[in-house]
Symmetry: C2
Subunit: 119 residues, 2 copies
């Protein structure tokens, strides 16, 4: 039984580029938990190269970097979130939660207009 579900996606755009978005925040959370780009990439089913590029893109878009990496060893040393990285996670998840909470009744009405599907 398929029920309608709300999907809310927040992005901070800088022109055509996504500076902060759902994929980058999920990667920050994985980095916070694993302290390693390769482990974070693995936990998200993403290549090391893709994760590295996302981190690089995000750091370049920020006034101050979200992730610092120690150099040395294969795939570098460990990676750590900075205070900015932690702040991005906190703010982003709070914006999501509050957006849904602020709209509970309207969202329920919107969902109710959609069929429940047998498939």
């Amino acid at each position: 039984m398929l029920r309608p579900a709300l999907n809310l996606r927040i992005r901070v755009m800088l022109g055509e580029h996504i500076a902060i978005g759902p994929g980058k925040v999920a990667l920050l959370e994985a980095l916070r938990d694993t302290h390693s780009i390769s482990a974070a990439a693995r936990s998200l089913g993403m290549s090391y190269r893709r994760a590295w590029l996302l981190v690089d893109e995000m750091n370049s878009a920020l006034r101050s970097p979200a992730v610092t990496s120690a150099t040395g060893g294969q795939h570098g040393g460990g990676s750590e979130l900075t205070e900015v990285g932690l702040e991005i996670i906190r703010l982003y998840r709070r914006v999501e939660e509050q957006a849904l909470a602020a709209n509970r009744d309207d969202i329920q009405q919107l969902l109710h207009l959609v069929r429940v599907s047998a498939a």
Copy 2:
């Protein structure tokens, strides 16, 4: 001068299908204003076929249709929004507005972490 901007996107999903989303709501608004699928498609830079498919997909996903079309003539007679179609526009735009309003301070903080780009 590029400044960071927030992009918020709301979708009602039914499994893998978008029942209600930004493209469909923009199409409903254009239909409300033009009373015609071909004029609405044109105003959105979309083919008639694509607009027709979006309307059909949306109507099928709803308990009760958002758009009714009179038959006859090339590309059919005119199209009109039902009460459900108008209600979708109202609810969807209100959810968007309230989501942004509920989060103004956090959103400002999030935007402030991103660089202003010279490009």
